[in-house]
Symmetry: C2
Subunit: 322 residues, 2 copies
DNA sequence: AATCAAAATGATAGCGCTAACATTTGTCAA
DNA sequence: TTGACAAATGTTAGCGCTATCATTTTGATT
């Protein structure tokens, strides 16, 4: 029992005993059995993380933040990949909860009803990431996708584009909110046209960005700028415009979303909405760790914001930006 | 006891009892406690996966393959991120092994001595991925990085480039082998020059590709082609060449490595060495699952090969390729 | 119906740890 | 020195399963 204490709460054991125990642990190469610990204590050090994709740059950045912050702590990360499916998400939540995790980090506001019920009655800390919204299960760290895309759309209008379009792939709930933001601002400015919206359920790729912009230009050749649902599409769109000899930004403006590193390196560099993915992951893990140590966040919801990074691809006045 | 059997080996229980048990399980919403199971059985259904990076596209593709194949099986994936550090890898192996995993999947051939000892005496299945080499701990699925880069270099020579250079970031063991392959072929053809090798320990980014090629061209302006250690660098290099007005492929050839999806979409499209990352992940998980079910692979080592995909960026004869 | 092996089910103990409480040791003021 | 209290350590039981072996049931064969 004293050994168990020494390993978990060293300050509850006298220094003398602690050293003796440490020496023996070292000599024997003793490692506690987490299964036995979990069984006896009725809880684990596992923090479940459920993301819709492990390949999407957005989530891999978030994951990296989480892993970085978890590194060296007592918390073990257990990753689940819901592949954008609410059903798989539900299964994962069920599986994870059966393991009595200390906490659960999952993406977004939109869970199936069954998942919601599971989460509402779960006896572990829950942290939603990627988005901000009302009524968190417990804690929430993200930003407003609607506002971010509204800001991007406003930027296009300020740059003088009057016939903006929107391309999107795989319309997950966050993509849809971004589309809504675009539509709202475009309508308010009286420049909205449904024919300049091109979407597909296919997963997003650079190649697809080219295809979507080709599709858009054949349907609505008047389009003079696009807001892309993400940076992969933006890059592909840029390549396609170049192939068609469309001058960027003079004849055609391009704005991405997320501001992946490559947007600054592209030629021309591509305007994008920066999101703080790594910070989101780090912050999420920090909040979770704190909450599990009894340190509650000041507010249940944190908005990490966004930032429109203007670059050559929408700098109509001559491309001096960045 | 019969319930335990019914849930794990349904064929050892009569159909009548099985149905009765199923009904009760359903009614009670019973879910087995994996910790208790692990403690009693002395083993788990966990397969540990250790990768050097969760953001690098290469590993995220592999991870996706693993998760896809694990989905729906009884195996649970536990992911660890060694961040290219042998010391963190060692810690992860130690932590994972303390959890009595059914299997361990890890990257590459180069482990620290301590890690090697841990693995050699581990009583779980071990599968190395990403590379092929002699003397596997247990099983191995990958390809030869030396041969792949040799093939790419040969392609550059065949395309008529006579002063090839090489740029690389973050020289992990696999990158180094690729550099070796380049050097070998270049030397044999009498076109090797150490001044045309530019490397940096910094992590690879698209921006960095531009910087490295700028560096290369200032040191060795005669360079007429580059083999890039990966596709991010190749893309960045392409953008930088475009900014400098260097004609691709006429004046300057570019070849990437891995053949990420964007290489085909780029303008010009970029030659790259295709590697079968998703297949590697799937195959790895399939092998592991089989091995744990007593189905041994025919050979301990599988070479998934590679494929040089020639595109515009090295198609000197006029860019008809792809 | 009696016999027997195979199939199905059941009883028992214990996996390695920790919660809860019990006991011992140490510390300080009176 | 003593008592009172806190700090440190120890005792006990049990977490929810599964391995192992024991017993019962089934069904085929004589």
């Amino acid at each position: 029992m004293t050994v168990s204490r020494a390993l978990r709460n060293p300050d509850k054991v006298s220094v003398k005993t602690l050293n003796k125990i440490k020496a023996v642990v070292e000599r024997l190469g003793y490692v506690p059995d987490p299964a036995a610990s979990a069984l006896a204590a009725g809880k684990t050090n596992v923090i479940g993380v459920i993301v819709p994709s492990v390949t999407n740059n957005v989530f891999s950045d978030v994951m990296r933040g989480i892993y970085e912050e978890a590194e060296g702590s007592k918390w073990q990360i257990q990753l689940g990949n819901s592949r954008y499916s609410p059903i798989e998400e539900e299964n994962l939540v069920r599986t994870f909860l059966s393991q009595k995790p200390a906490g659960l980090i999952l993406s977004g506001l939109d869970q199936s009803e069954a998942t919601e019920n599971l989460l509402r009655s779960a006896d572990c800390r829950i942290l939603q990431i990627m988005e901000c919204g009302p009524d968190p299960y417990d804690m929430m760290i993200g930003f407003s996708h609607v506002e971010a895309s509204m800001a991007a759309t406003r930027h296009l209008l300020e740059a003088g584009y009057r016939r903006p379009g929107y391309i999107a792939a795989r319309l997950d709930p966050r993509s849809q909110r971004r589309l809504q933001g675009f539509q709202k601002v475009a309508e308010e400015a009286g420049v909205f046209s449904a024919s300049r919206i091109v979407t597909t359920p296919r997963p997003s790729t650079v190649t697809l960005g080219g295809e979507l912009v080709a599709d858009l230009l054949s349907k609505a050749p008047e389009t003079d700028a696009i807001l892309c649902n993400n940076d992969d599409l933006a890059l592909g769109a840029m390549f396609e415009c170049q192939r068609r000899g469309l001058k960027i930004p003079e004849e055609f403006g391009i704005c991405g979303f997320n501001d992946l590193e490559m947007m600054a390196a592209a030629n021309p560099s591509i305007t994008s909405v920066r999101t703080f993915r790594l910070d989101m992951g780090r912050e999420a893990m920090r909040w979770m760790g704190n909450a599990l140590s009894g340190i509650e966040p000041e507010s249940a919801v944190a908005d990490l914001g966004y930032q429109v990074i203007v670059r050559q691809s929408t700098a109509r006045d001559g491309g001096s930006a960045n």
